[in-house]
């Protein structure tokens, strides 16, 4: 079972993501700020990190840099979830070494397939 860590401060957004992914075979973790998100990432070593770029304690881009600085997490896919305009989101997430971005608000219809795309079929356990 793949573990997904969601780092998102806004409770409504977090609930929507968790509810949307609940029917699927993932272990879902949630952190509501950057510090607890980094701790959880280090301790749980998720298979995918979904990251809100606007966090209350540390900015998302800085958090990406901190995560990438942890050797065990350097290869973990990070996907930004952001309301930024697509061009800015693409440019910023590529520059910071994200594996992609998903625009907010998420669409519950397509969100599961957007997430599944980050797990190659041969990764299935």
């Amino acid at each position: 079972m793949k573990t997904i860590l969601l780092i998102e401060d806004y409770a409504d957004n977090a609930r929507l993501v968790m509810r949307t992914l609940k029917p699927y075979d993932y272990r879902l973790l949630h952190a509501s700020d950057g510090e607890s998100g980094l701790m959880m990432a280090v301790n749980e070593k998720p298979d995918l990190i979904l990251l809100d770029l606007g966090l209350p304690d540390v900015e998302g881009q800085t958090l990406i840099a901190l995560i990438r600085d942890v050797p065990e997490l350097a290869q973990v896919p990070i996907v930004a979830v952001t309301a930024w305009p697509p061009a800015t989101a693409r440019q910023m997430t590529e520059a910071y070494g994200c594996d992609g971005y998903i625009s907010k608000p998420i669409s519950p219809k397509i969100f599961p397939s957007q997430i599944a795309a980050y797990f190659a079929p041969e990764d299935d356990e």
Partner: protein, 284 residues
């Protein structure tokens, strides 16, 4: 002091805890493209760094329900309106205008000659409100970032010298650019953790860079070319900076797009994150 309208009262922000203020502020920006949420510690730091006066700042309330808030920074010669936010469910009831008019009155009482503020480019409702209240656009300001890593490009050969915080503050006194509230010298001194670099190029170009270095980030860059081509001096300055701190993320706020060092920053891997519009209301 409590000012009342038929349904909305304005209460000094100092009557609320930082947790209460930050909860209201975060709620007010939840649907923004750039929400920039805070926690209580960050808001406390913000109030300190930017000389926000919570006695003069206000929370709009109807009964026990917080509708929104706005804050006032106070420095000799001018005031600054910031953190204006109305919770989404409470918009279009006049609370934003009421808060703004209150802070304008507070500024008049202080005999401030003008008020400045910044609005994120694209926030049309807020921009309309500010125009309606008499604010005029003065300039656009860039929020720029650079991901960690060594310098992306080489600079012309240079020699660099590191300077401490006291020397950095001395350099800021020689600054020629017009700073926004966020990077005025009092903001930088309040924020602390400052350092500086001086570079000299072989062709005689020279300049300096003041910056803030925290554990995770470089920020608050102020560049000045004293001689030579600002592009080449700028490249040398940021090359020296990122050679020293290749592992740190960098963010710098409120750089005017016509700053002569902006091309150099872009060549060294800086990206525009978003823009603000600076606006000003003359009170005299």
């Amino acid at each position: 002091m409590t000012l009342a309208s038929p349904t909305i009262e304005l209460v000094p922000a100092s009557q609320f805890t930082f947790d209460e203020l930050v909860a209201a502020y975060n709620q007010s920006r939840v649907d923004y493209i750039v929400p920039m949420p805070m926690n209580a510690a960050r808001l406390r730091e913000y109030v300190h760094n930017y000389d926000v006066n919570l006695e003069l700042s206000a929370v709009a309330r109807r009964g026990e329900q917080i509708l929104g808030l706005a804050m006032l920074g106070v420095r000799p010669g001018h005031t600054w309106i910031t953190r204006l936010g109305i919770l989404p469910v409470n918009r279009r009831c006049g609370a934003g205008q009421l808060l703004m008019e209150h802070l304008i009155r507070q500024s008049r009482r202080l005999r401030a000659p003008h008020i400045i503020l910044e609005v994120i480019k694209g926030n049309k409702p807020a921009h309309r409100l500010f125009c309606k209240l008499g604010f005029n656009e003065t300039r656009e300001l860039l929020i720029v970032r650079r991901p960690p890593g060594p310098p992306a490009n080489d600079a012309l050969p240079y020699t660099a010298h590191d300077l401490n915080q006291q020397q950095a503050v001395e350099l800021l006194r020689q600054r020629r650019s017009i700073p926004s509230w966020l990077d005025e010298t009092p903001s930088l001194i309040n924020a602390g953790k400052l350092a500086a670099l001086r570079v000299e190029l072989e062709d005689g170009g020279r300049g300096w860079l003041v910056y803030q270095k925290t554990i995770f980030k470089l920020a608050r860059l102020v560049l000045q070319t004293e001689a030579g081509d600002p592009r080449q001096v700028g490249q040398a300055l940021v090359h020296a900076l990122h050679t020293r701190y290749p592992a740190l993320d960098t963010k710098s706020e409120n750089l005017p797009p016509d700053d002569p060092h902006w091309p150099a920053l872009q060549e060294m891997g800086y990206l525009e994150s978003f823009r603000r519009i600076e606006m000003r209301l003359e009170l005299t």
